[in-house]
């Protein structure tokens, strides 16, 4: 297997699998959408083409059969209903798994499950056996007449454009489908080089392309139909037998790997391939760094301009630099952005499968798919979102009969939305299900021993909803294998917190629930509270900071060897950061210093610092590997005046003081 070609195939196949994932579910909603059907068909066909080229038999088997089923659907012989969709989706999963295995380095795929293949065959044959036979007869009699022809004026030797391919596909649609019901992989039809091409010499890309196209079209028409592109292929030409041409072709074309995928793919991906470049994210980080420095230089220049009273020309130049730098910074930020569609794309399938399994009817609406956010965030958000959407489908939306009884439409709706809000992204999952009952939640909390009845009753509704995010809390009466094991919501919460985000629950009993997640646009920027000992700045992640007040010695007690501060009837352990960060600043009397109350997980702590310098949004920079091992620091950053501030890692800080 040629590794280069395989890699190209995988890149393309992965994209196709992503597309198909969405398209298949859409198709179930709109089975009569011919464009969508063609797109799905093409998707399977392209994967099959690539797999065929590389000889990945298990993949070919499944794709081929799936393709056959869609052929039947296109001819109106089979309907794409939920039953067929289940089988197709299973086949799709096999394909998707195979691609994933190949991507992760496996080269030998396991044999296919015969049951699935038979089911696919059954759909193809099933209702339509009779028809197929008559069609086959027709095809046989028509053999000599059927020709696929490109529209006039189209140069068959050049690249096939989308339109041309479309035209061919449509032509083919009109032709009888004699061969598609055959479950076996057909023998390779003969390929022929265009006239004037010397088959012994180097095969050029164009020639290779032409051969590939021929081969593709042969695949379409398979049996005996005569092709007229560019010459009838039925005439045997000995030196261009596929056995000779095929093994040679991949080798010759290897330097330009984009030729490798079969014709249709080439046509459809050609435009995008040329307008994008793959860049290592580390390189982007480097650029980000330099831009950050440039911003600092600009800031210094801006200050100089006002203090030094420079000439008008100079100040114009500085103003210009100011604009350019700002634009540059935004552009560089944008290079790291990806549309949230990347995550959302998987949800139609998730919801569809779950709904079918649970016997519910659910519409999933996606809003704001084009909202951009940081690449790392897109990846990090996938798991929490899947969990929340599953929750909405499983616990939120009621069974159809319950919905009718409650006077709601039979079909439930789940809305997954994303929107930008200043420097944050707001993601929300809204369902029109049964909502949550705060009283039930309060009762559960007491039953599970999470708190006593008094405390529970003092919780307002919002706090009661938030109970579902505490560890060991599950309200589902019946534990299902979908959600409701009582691990999950707390995990979701900690994942979101890790991204410096927050999660908010709003629910109205009987009307539905909305979970809102707010995350920063990028992971690289962290809002912090700047604290200091003299010149030395430290940054505390702002999401953890709860409140700040003056140190007053009469509020401090020593309890069991630990200093505690009293705050609204609660005692909170107090740590003097100077003991660690500035030993020369350890003193008897801390009056005038500040106490910063922070929350770490579900515990709180008070940190005593000398000065609090306000909020600052900082770019997190890693400390080198020599300092990685030192606990208590999450990184470093460069402040507005060019000095370095260390970012504190609160769990690490507390650990330092506790042991």
């Amino acid at each position: 297997m040629d590794e280069d070609i395989l890699q190209d195939f995988l890149v393309e196949a992965t994209e196709l699998v992503d597309q198909l994932n969405e398209q298949l579910v859409d198709l179930e909603q709109a089975p009569s959408d011919r464009d969508l059907l063609n797109a799905v068909f093409r998707g399977f066909h392209t994967i099959k083409g690539g797999a065929g080229f590389l000889g990945i038999t298990p993949l070919i088997e499944v794709c081929h059969r799936a393709e056959n089923v869609f052929d039947k659907i296109r001819n109106g012989d089979v309907e794409y209903d939920a039953v067929v969709a289940d089988v197709i989706l299973r086949a799709f999963d096999v394909i998707s798994d195979s691609i994933e295995q190949l991507n992760s380095g496996a080269r030998d795929l396991p044999e296919n499950d015969q049951g699935l293949l038979q089911e696919l065959d059954a759909i193809t044959k099933g209702q339509a056996v009779q028809e197929v036979e008559t069609q086959a007869d027709n095809a046989a009699t028509m053999t000599t007449d059927i020709k696929l022809e490109l529209p006039e004026g189209v140069d068959p030797d050049g690249e096939i454009s989308d339109d041309e391919f479309e035209a061919l596909l449509n032509q083919r649609d009109m032709l009888s489908e004699a061969s598609s019901s055959s479950p076996q992989i057909p023998e390779e039809p003969k390929l022929e080089l265009p006239e004037g091409v010397d088959p012994d010499g180097e095969i050029t890309d164009d020639e290779f392309e032409a051969l590939l196209n021929q081969r593709d079209l042969m695949d379409f028409a398979q049996v005996d139909e005569t092709l007229s592109m560019p010459e009838p292929a039925s005439e045997p030409v000995p030196q261009a037998k596929p056995a000779d041409t095929k093994p040679a072709a991949p080798k010759e074309s290897a330097p330009k790997p984009s030729v490798a995928p079969a014709g249709p793919a080439k046509a459809s991906s050609k435009n995008t391939a040329e307008s994008t470049v793959r860049v290592d994210t580390r390189r982007l980080d480097e650029i980000m760094n330099l831009v950050g420095e440039l911003v600092l230089v600009r800031n210094r220049l801006l200050t100089l301009r006002t203090t030094q009273g420079s000439s008008e020309e100079l100040s114009n130049a500085v103003a210009n630099l100011d604009h350019v730098t700002t634009d540059l910074q935004t552009s560089v930020m944008k290079t790291r952005m990806q549309p949230v569609k990347k995550v959302f794309g998987r949800f139609p399938r998730v919801v569809r499968d779950l709904a079918r399994k649970l016997g519910k009817e659910i519409d999933l609406e996606l809003v704001g798919e084009d909202t951009d956010l940081d690449k790392n965030l897109v990846e990090a958000l996938a798991d929490p979102l899947v969990h929340l959407v599953r929750n909405s489908v499983d616990h939120g939306i009621e069974m159809p009969q319950d919905r009718i009884a409650a006077g709601k439409p039979e079909k439930g709706t789940v809305i997954l939305a994303a929107q930008q809000e200043g420097d944050h992204i707001l993601l929300s999952i809204t369902d029109d299900g049964k909502g949550m009952d705060p009283d039930v939640l309060r009762r559960k909390a007491v039953e599970k021993g999470l708190m006593d009845e008094m405390t529970a009753n003092q919780l307002d509704d919002k706090a009661a909803f938030e109970l579902i995010m505490s560890a060991g809390f599950s309200t589902a009466e019946q534990i299902s294998d979908i959600s409701g094991r009582g691990v999950g919501m707390d995990v979701v919460k900690s994942m979101i917190t890790k991204l410096n985000g927050s999660i908010d629950i709003h629910s109205v009993l009987g009307e539905g629930t909305r979970m809102s997640i707010r995350v920063p646009l990028t992971l690289a920027i962290l809002p912090t509270l700047m604290v200091a000992f003299d010149e030395d700045n430290y940054a505390i992640p702002l999401t953890s900071v709860q409140e700040i007040f003056d140190y007053e010695s009469d509020k401090i007690n020593m309890i069991d060897g630990q200093m505690m501060v009293r705050l609204r009837e609660k005692s909170i352990p107090l740590y003097f950061l100077s003991e660690w960060l500035a030993p020369e600043k350890v003193k008897e009397d801390y009056d005038g210093d500040k106490v910063v109350i922070v929350s770490i997980g579900n515990q709180r702590a008070g940190l005593v610092v000398e000065q609090v310098n306000g909020q600052e949004e900082v770019v997190i920079k890693p400390l080198g590997m020599m300092l990685k091992k030192i606990s208590g620091y999450a990184g470093a950053t460069i402040t507005g005046n060019g000095s370095i501030a260390l970012i504190l890692d609160l769990p690490g800080v507390i650990q330092r003081f506790q042991y």
């Binding site: 760094n289 920079k621 400390l623 080198g624 470093a636 330092r656």
Partner: protein, 166 residues
């Protein structure tokens, strides 16, 4: 050496210490610097730049050989005291002190505080000799020594030194 004997005009110098211009064999370009009174060398290809000493931000909790971190055009770089690593008493920063920014094999950058940076020299490879195993601990970070123009140059194995020194 064969090359030199082939050039008649150099024959007079061949017995003494060669000047750069007269040696044509393979040579290693090194940055030479001093610690105490000893001359050390680092291959130029390992060095990204040499900086004057600016503000070094101390980091609490670090081992003694780590002086702190500096900002090199937006990248945070750890600075180590090369004296401490070689077991010499550390000395206050002077006008001559420099930080040599080296790039390790894993693309990490580290700054090495040194007393004084002398020059960049091409040292004939024939002048290098591997170190006979004497002082176990210190020799771990020395690649070899070169006798060159009346001086002994100690060639540092920066990767080994900065990755392994505890």
């Amino acid at each position: 050496m064969e090359l030199q004997t082939a050039l008649p005009e150099n024959s007079g110098l061949a017995t003494g210490l060669e000047e750069d211009s007269t040696y044509i064999g393979p040579s290693a370009r090194c940055v030479l610097f001093t610690l105490q009174d000893e001359i050390y060398g680092i291959y130029v290809k390992k060095i990204r730049e040499v900086l004057r000493v600016g503000t070094i931000r101390k980091v609490a909790g670090t081992p003694p050989h780590v002086l702190g971190v500096i900002n090199v055009r937006g990248v945070i770089v750890t600075v180590v005291d090369t004296r401490t690593i070689y077991g010499m008493p550390s000395k206050p920063v002077t006008d001559l002190s420099r930080i040599i920014i080296v790039e390790l094999d894993d693309e990490q950058t580290v700054g090495m505080m040194v007393d004084f940076v002398m020059e960049v020299k091409d040292i004939p490879e024939s002048k290098f000799e591997p170190l006979s195993s004497t002082k176990e601990n210190a020799s771990r970070y020395i690649q070899g020594i070169a006798h060159y123009q009346d001086n002994v140059i100690i060639l540092i194995d920066v990767d080994n030194m900065l990755m392994n020194f505890e």
